[in-house]
Amino acid sequence: MKYYVLIITCCLLQLVNSQNCNSKFFGEVHDFHDGTPIIAAAIYLENLDKYTTTDINGKFSIDNICDGKLTIVVSHLGCETKRLDVLINGDTFLEINLEHHIEELHEVKVEGTSSYKLTKTSQESLLKSQAIERYSAYSLGDALKQISGVSSINTGNSIVKPVINGLHSSRIVVMTNGVRLQDQEWGIEHAPNIDLNAAGSINVIKGANALAFGGDAMGGVIVLKPSSISLNDSLYGKTIISGQNNGRGYSLNSSLTKTYQEGWYVGAQVSRKRFGDFETSNYNLTNTGLSSLGFSMNAGFKKFEQGFNVYYSYLNNEIAILRSSHIGNIEDLVNAINSQQPLVVEDFSYDINSPRQDVTHQIVKAEFYKRYKKFGRVDVQYDFQNNQRFEYDVRVGNDRNKAAIDLTLKTHSIRTSVKLDSKSNTTYEFGVNAAYQNNFANPDTGVRRLIPDYDKYDLGVFAISGLRLNEKINLDFGFRYDFNRIDAKKFYQTSRWLERVYDEDFGNLVIEDLGSQLLTNPVFDYHNMSGSAGISFKTDDHNSFIFNYGLSNRAPNPSELFSDGLHHSAARIELGNLRIQKETSNRVSGTHQYKKGPFSINLEAFYNHINNYILIEPIGTEQTIRGAFPVWINKQTNAALFGIDITANYKINEQWSFNNKSSFIKGRDISREQALIDIPSFKTVNILGYANKKWLNFNSELQSELVLRQNDFPNNNFEVFIPRTQEMVLVDVSSPPPAYHLLHFQSDITIDLSNKTNLNIGLNITNILNVSYREYLNRLRYFADDLGRNLMLQLKLNY
């Protein structure tokens, strides 16, 4: 009873109080980062429809407020608007911290994506969602070729690896949603396991200047980020469906995200692709179909002060590899090179037969961040990746449906970083990355392991600082140290071990002698230093410059050390080399941006000197019961790569525009004064664009792509004795294919279906003239032409 009275009294008091409308609500608005007062911030009292602004000291005050709950909205130019509930009880003071930072101004919302550059003093390019969606049916490597200086190295048309300024595979780091992709990326026929449709924006940083991601990215870093989450109550998504005649297939992608104003969000995305045999201008490419299924889920809480994110992604790619590219010996290769078209051409089919790959990649990630007032942001992330790679060869008997390669790569990693950004002109970032990786090569394949079982340990620490001297000049410095240990268990054929004279230098590695095979336990440690320095400055309103320097070191990958086996598509025996050391790159680059009225040009030049550059090259032929094979071995040399990438835009008028992207690169083997292998040839793309907003937002582009012949190549041709005919035959594996010119057309219109829903209809035609051509950087160029004309219709629904 006593309590009952007390409660009643309290309620009455509350009632009495609420009628008190003489309270004063006052407070101060500060910058979250450095605590400085924010002047002229707007304070809006939502229930009362009253406004006030902060004074020169960041203070505000409103009189005659009734006690009770009040909803206020605090906003300021360049700040994230904040909505707060305040309980007014007598005169009430409130301190409000707003995110007000010059750097955050980069987060301009573009089509629901927070796309901004990650660096200020690097050669960085950005692909926004629209440029990515256009390539929805293709792969990451295809989409990135829109950037001048980025090309690709292909195995057919479905296995596409990005090449940045002439470097690829282990020399490029791919970050997807904050996770460094670990998917046996050393192999040329191992495309990155990325579902392009899961990305909202892609940043490409040329060179090793983004040290937070790794110290070994001497080619560059590719950063894929999901679409940003907006902080309001909303349910949105998009669906892209495309169909095309070449490959007679479709691609479908759909995503849905639910966000809450309080900061919670949950989203999911699914994509599916299915293609049959592709075709050149003259014939079917038998066994080149593709089946892909991907989905990802994303959930978390996001506020300026703190947040977390949990993420899961699954991607399975089943890719058929041109039947004619699987050959038995060097005579078959000679026959294939001399034949005008592939030796196996059958009718169209959706079947995915051997040779084929079946790769599944899964990522689990949990990330947490918190901002401390007047200090900065702390990030902690754990991720786990599981990569399961099956490769099926053309086999006989009971092994017909058994994989020839069965690798399971598991990677655990932790990334932590602290970013001190409380001062608006200097930022510091410190971080530690640690990773453990295990590779398991399943012996049930009945084929000797191409890559051995191994454990790999990585530890990296870095420190990066950014200095903003004034409106015009930015400086960046970075330093990183990495420790790598690889601990492998590898079987060598005794005959190979002796032929390589490993018994003299590595005899202590042998842990078991099985007669014809030796089990060895190589354990190698690497200590790598990397550094980066850059400056960007504006000389006037039209001209700006960037200069930077990057030092990076890369430990040899498992393939370069241990690879051991016959590659059927190249008819060659490829060998790793235990004697290989790390490679060191020193890269300098300069950028000039000029912008005046309708004209803009971006010139990027670089010079990359790589000591102990690892490359694979022939050392002779060996006879086997199958016939003769050339033997290629991993070796080291000193190399230099240099080139210029140009992007120019000219807006002729409201409707018409012209755009040019060109890249020129040379690769030299300095030690032996000859060209480097697999360097992209000169390429120039000219684009004439026409857009008219009145015609349902009509956009169109006619593209001309000219690729010249690579005349600078090492001559790895060799002669082989064919006992059958008692003749020496020249095997021309080096000569690049001739220059080619392709025309492409793209167009789209957008129809608004309601105020939140629109439909975009696109028509893309590639290789309009159905030109037959072969590309130097396609490993299947010995066997078949590249793709003929393709008509693609794409429907994109945003809701």
Partner: protein, 188 residues
């Protein structure tokens, strides 16, 4: 200060990862599909000394070249019945690979060639479709004496209907080479 303490704990926790280790000993792989040895026995139809040709490569794709042996000379104007034996000798006991080829006869074909016009070949067996296979064949020597190179090739998935393939001409056969052995033989 409290913040820094928290951070140092975070950094230290990342080091824990380096403690893991895996001491599993992997098991060796004995190549299942490898054909190490091809033996051709040529037996004269009317009686006489049989001739054995063999190519043997025990380390497969390894650096050692195959060992090629020919037991002796052939006689002029003689019909020889040839029989092929294929073995995987990396396994113990050696595995006979003929069975696999007989089971998949439609996808395999042997080709025989000889230089210097010292003889001619004919198939004695057929696959499931009535096309030649070549595990059994005849070799008929001519009246010419001298030496020549005899090449025996096994192609996997050849185009058996291409021109000349059924007659044993390898030119248009395509497919991939599983075995290729060349033997220097003499006829006297």
């Amino acid at each position: 200060m409290k913040t820094i303490k928290k951070l140092s704990i975070l950094f230290l926790s990342t080091l824990v990862f380096l403690g893991c280790s895996n001491d599993d000993i992997p098991i060796p792989v004995n190549e299942e599909e490898v054909i190490t040895t091809l033996t051709a026995v040529l037996t004269p139809v009317g009686g006489g000394t049989a001739v054995t040709l063999q190519t043997r490569d025990l380390d497969g794709d390894g650096p050692n070249a195959p060992t090629i042996t020919v037991s002796g000379p052939l006689a002029v104007n003689t019909v020889y019945n040839g029989n092929l034996t294929l073995l995987n000798e990396t396994e113990s006991p050696a595995e006979l690979k003929n069975t696999e080829i007989e089971e998949e006869s439609n996808e395999h074909q042997f080709f025989f060639e000889v230089t210097n016009n010292i003889g001619s070949f004919a198939y004695r067996d057929t696959d499931g479709n009535g096309n030649p296979l070549g595990l059994e064949f005849t070799f008929t020597t001519t009246a010419n004496t001298g030496s020549g190179n005899m090449t025996i090739t096994l192609r996997h998935e050849p185009n058996k209907t291409a021109a000349g393939v059924a007659e044993g001409d390898i030119t248009n056969a395509g497919g991939e080479t599983d075995i290729e052995g060349t033997f220097s033989v003499t006829v006297q």
